[in-house]
Symmetry: C2
Subunit: 369 residues, 2 copies
């Protein structure tokens, strides 16, 4: 039982399950910790009920509602972490852009950034406490409501991924509008990426001060770039975020928390990402566990990487996929997860089977070794 | 100057530029051959003019029109190959499914396959000569009209990619409906994949008999699968296609032509793809050339892999990207191309710069060595 140090003057209940924190720090774990991206989401009937009454961003912006949906999967499943319900696009909103969530389509920017002139539309010195204080409040409330059951993960989108959304105005097959900026407007691109990075750093620091015990940075569109462009326009900002978040927390006498990087599709840069200052590297399912470990070395914890669609299988098959995954990754320096977020049509029972199988099989493996 | 052997009783003009065939067969080349996926396409004003008058599938189905658009980029640029204008979805059409091309959205199946019961809707013993004879006619006509200037490439979609379209009914972010079949209906999935494979084999054989001098198989959605599912549901069918197309041509006393496999996103299986029976492996831009060569070994020709968006750059920068790519791949056993098809908003002049830079720089490299 760890006693939780007060963060920013806040007293939180003592933490009863620090499995994921130990795994992230490379300490021994008796069973493999597990959580799922988008574990609070539309596959849960109780989430759909909430969403029937409230707009997506209303849930994000109302701490009591965000707390409630964050806790929903924790009540159902033996998860080893909660992740605050929010969206990566709250940062573009904080910079002054309008983002709408269109049912069945996803996020949409009515006025995306078209040319570098549009950078003047951005508020480049965001006071995150003012603009995103609702996230901090939601985190503090949820950390209390969790009663120390499991740690609470905070998160942010990564600079390139947010830049891509701001320019494309939504999802894209090619991200060619945003990539055109990288190729033809490198200076303006770096300006935008740096503005985003500064805001993200403050935002993540604020989340830890509010009570987040682990942070994940989502570079969801990294796969649209190749190695060279990734090294120019993603990696330096990801490194800067890891470095500055830890520095700023130390400067405030707050103990830094473990940080996870998830650069989806960037399997061409796994070796570089493993060295980028994060404690954990999350993997999609387009890389084999053994290959990832061999490229990443031993000094980073790996997270992932089951193909989400494997959860469509029978419970018996899910247990087999989990056993296979655990055998490949091993039980140490490893956090079980899917290679991407949960899809809305998943059967919650199968999610439960996945979680329980991770615990049961990893415990068996640890006892046998 | 090679004299062209008669194919299926057809006499074709002698081939004046066999650079790409030599590269595909691993023979020495004095300069690197180059072509681009979707080189006949909307980025060309003459193509848009044609499309303003004719529906997309009307162009595919009318040999004179398909021939005309195939030749358009050959008139403009010093390309080393033409690729017949067609679409990978002509196979689902031949199997009996309706496919519409919706402007600004892409292909759409009004009645996609929903459950294995829907397999009964498919014509599983397609006479490709009857159903797709228009493609063969277009190939024969184009081969003649090319006057031996460059070889003509034929192509097909790969089984998994076509299966994914038939079930999703169009593009998808996750291909989760089609992947759900793989996980929950493996027997029905294999039945569908085998039906597609049989039709694809006959279709590619017919293309060579009609005059195609090189074949490319597009597994555009391979990246939606991980290594295990790829090895179960893609690789065996890709291997079967390469093997059976060559066998069937030999049985008909037709000399097999080189074959290219392009499994976009399947960089987790580059080593396996290099051994799958194809002469050339095409690469997207999510793998570094040196890594690809090291995994692929020396017995396969590589094709690709510039990030398409690099063509948004200035002409000077395009020349630098080409020089870098050629340095990394080397000038032998290599065909220059983009890592994906040309986007509609490309400047045709920049496409020309790319092509010329490949020739000029590779000639310089060969002379210097």
């Amino acid at each position: 039982m760890m006693s939780a140090p007060p963060v920013d003057g806040k007293e939180f209940p003592p933490l009863k399950n620090d499995l994921i924190l130990r795994a992230a720090r490379g300490e021994k774990t008796e069973r493999v910790p597990v959580w799922l991206m988008r574990q609070a989401g539309r596959y849960l009937p109780e989430f759909r009920e909430m969403r029937a009454e409230h707009q997506f961003f209303t849930v994000c912006q109302t701490p009591a509602l965000a707390c409630e949906v964050t806790l929903q999967p924790i009540r159902r499943f033996e998860l080893d972490a909660a992740i605050i319900f929010s969206d990566i696009l709250v940062i573009p909103q904080a910079l002054g852009l309008t983002v709408e969530m269109i049912p069945g389509k996803g996020p949409s920017f009515p006025e995306p950034l078209v040319s570098p002139d549009d950078l003047s539309r951005l508020n480049t010195s965001v006071d995150v406490g003012q603009a995103l204080g609702y996230v901090f409040e939601a985190i503090t409330l949820t950390r209390k409501e969790l009663q120390g059951k499991v740690p609470l993960i905070g998160f942010s989108g990564a600079p390139w991924t947010l830049m891509a959304y701001c320019i494309e105005g939504g999802g894209s097959n090619t991200y060619s509008k945003a990539k055109k900026w990288l190729y033809t407007q490198p200076a303006a691109s770096h300006t935008l990426l740096q503005t985003l990075t500064r805001t993200i750093v403050d935002y993540l620091v604020g989340q830890v001060e509010a009570g987040a015990q682990l942070l994940q940075v989502f570079d969801s569109h990294a796969g649209s770039l190749g190695y060279d462009m990734f090294c120019k326009f993603c990696l330096p900002y990801l490194q800067q975020i890891a470095r500055e978040v830890k520095e700023k927390l130390r400067a405030k006498s707050v103990e830094p928390v473990p940080m996870i990087v998830f650069a989806k599709g960037a399997n061409y840069a796994v070796a570089e990402l493993a060295q980028s200052g994060y404690d954990v590297m999350s993997l999609d399912w387009d890389i084999q566990p053994q290959v990832a470990r061999s490229l990443a070395g031993q000094d980073v914890t790996l997270q992932g990487n089951l193909d989400p669609c494997a959860l469509y299988s029978s419970k018996e098959e899910i247990r087999e996929y989990v056993a296979q995954m655990l055998t490949r990754f091993g039980t140490q320096r490893y956090i079980a997860n899917l290679g991407h977020g949960i899809y809305p049509d998943f059967n919650p029972e199968h999610v439960g089977t996945f979680i329980d199988a991770v615990h049961q099989h990893s415990e068996r493996m640890n006892k046998a070794s």
